[in-house]
Symmetry: C2
Subunit: 191 residues, 2 copies
C-alpha cells in the first residue's frame, strides 16, 4: 500500500487510510505501527518515507540476509524467480538440488549446485537463511544438513514439523493454514 501511494507522489498517510486499504481495524494498525518506533502527526498521519523506513528497519528488510534454497522443483523455481525478495531483506546466494538433471543448470540465471556443496558454500558465503522446498520425505534430513552448515533460520515450505535444536529459527510458510481458513469459511457459508 505504501509503495503504491509513493508511486502516486503521496507524501503522508493516515492510520485510517491504511486500515481502509487493508480492511484492518484502525486501532490495531496504530498499535502495530507503534512497535516500529514511527511517530505520526495528529490529523496528518505519517510521513510516507519515514513510515516505510521504520517498518523496513523493524523487519530487518534494510539489511540483506544471504539465503540458499534447497529443492529446485516447481515451487523452488517459482521462489527463485521472484525478483523482489531483496525488498524483503533476502538475497539468494545459492540453490541446491540432488537431481543430476538439475545440477549444473541455470534457473533464473542462477546455477543449481549439488546439495553436497551446501556445507562449504554456506560457510564461505555466510548464508544465514535456508529455504526448504524439498519433498516431505527428505525435509528433516536436509534441515539437519542446513543446521550443521551453520544456517540459523529455516523457511519451511514442506508440510513437515521439523525437529531441530533450540535456537534455530523455523518459520513455516503457512500455505495449508491459509487453505484451512479458506475452506472453513466456504464450509460455514454453505452449511
Amino acid at each position: 500500500v505504501l509503495k503504491r501511494l509513493e508511486s502516486l507522489n503521496r507524501r503522508t498517510i493516515s492510520t485510517s487510510d491504511i486500515s481502509r486499504a487493508l480492511k484492518l481495524d484502525p486501532t490495531q494498525v496504530r498499535k502495530d505501527l507503534s512497535y516500529t518506533g514511527v511517530v505520526g502527526k495528529p490529523r496528518v498521519g505519517y510521513n510516507l518515507q519515514d513510515l516505510q523506513r521504520c517498518i523496513q528497519s523493524f523487519l530487518g528488510w534494510d539489511k540483506l540476509s544471504r539465503a540458499c534454497l534447497v529443492g529446485v522443483g516447481h515451487l523452488g523455481t517459482a521462489l527463485l524467480g521472484y525478483d523482489r525478495f531483496n525488498e524483503y531483506g533476502i538475497c539468494f546466494a545459492a540453490a541446491f538440488d540432488t537431481d543430476p538433471a538439475k545440477v549444473g543448470c541455470l534457473v533464473h540465471d542462477r546455477e543449481v549446485r549439488h546439495l553436497d556443496e551446501l556445507p562449504e558454500m554456506a560457510q564461505n558465503l555466510d548464508i544465514r537463511l535456508g529455504i526448504l522446498t524439498v519433498p516431505a520425505s527428505v525435509a528433516q534430513e536436509v534441515a539437519d544438513l542446513m543446521v550443521k552448515a551453520g544456517i540459523q533460520a529455516i523457511w519451511n515450505f514442506t508440510p513437515i514439523s521439523l525437529n531441530l535444536e533450540d535456537g534455530i529459527i523455523v518459520e513455516k510458510a503457512q500455505i495449508y493454514a491459509s487453505l484451512a481458513v479458506l475452506s472453513r469459511r466456504l464450509e460455514a457459508r454453505i452449511s
Copy 2:
C-alpha cells in the same frame, strides 16, 4: 501429526502429545479442538479417528469443493502438481492461462484452457473456488472475472489486496507475512 500416528497404528492421542509435537500451548490446543465438537476421555485423550473426522468436518475437508486455478506459471504448476489437495477438500476442475504457449498443454495431466473459457466452465462445472496465481498486474482483473463467473471464494497468491464485492471470501496465502515474521526474528537475533 494425526496421520503419522495413525500410520504407526496408534489409537488415541492426548492434548499434550499434540502440543509437544507442534510446539503449541496445551490449553490453546484443547480450546481449539473443542470447536470441532470432538469429545475426549480424561487421562486417555482423543480417539485418533474421531478426532480426524471432527477436524475434517469442521474444516469442510470431508466434502470436495471444485476449484480452478488461473495462472500456470511456476507457482501455479507447483500447486497443480500437489497431489494431496483432495485431503484438504479441494479438487482441481480446471486450469487457465492466456499464454498461447501454455494453452492446450498438459500440466500434471490437466489441460490448460484459455482464460476466455473460464466463465462457461466455472458455471458448467459448479466451480466455487478460484486460485489466483497470476502476475500482480492482472490480479484484480482476473479476480473480477472469477466473481462474474460465480466463484465465491478466492485463494489469492498475489501480493495485491483485491477489491471485491462484499460476500466474496478472499484468503491471502500469507507467504510474505510468513517471510516478514522470519526476517524479524532473524533481525532480532542479530541486533
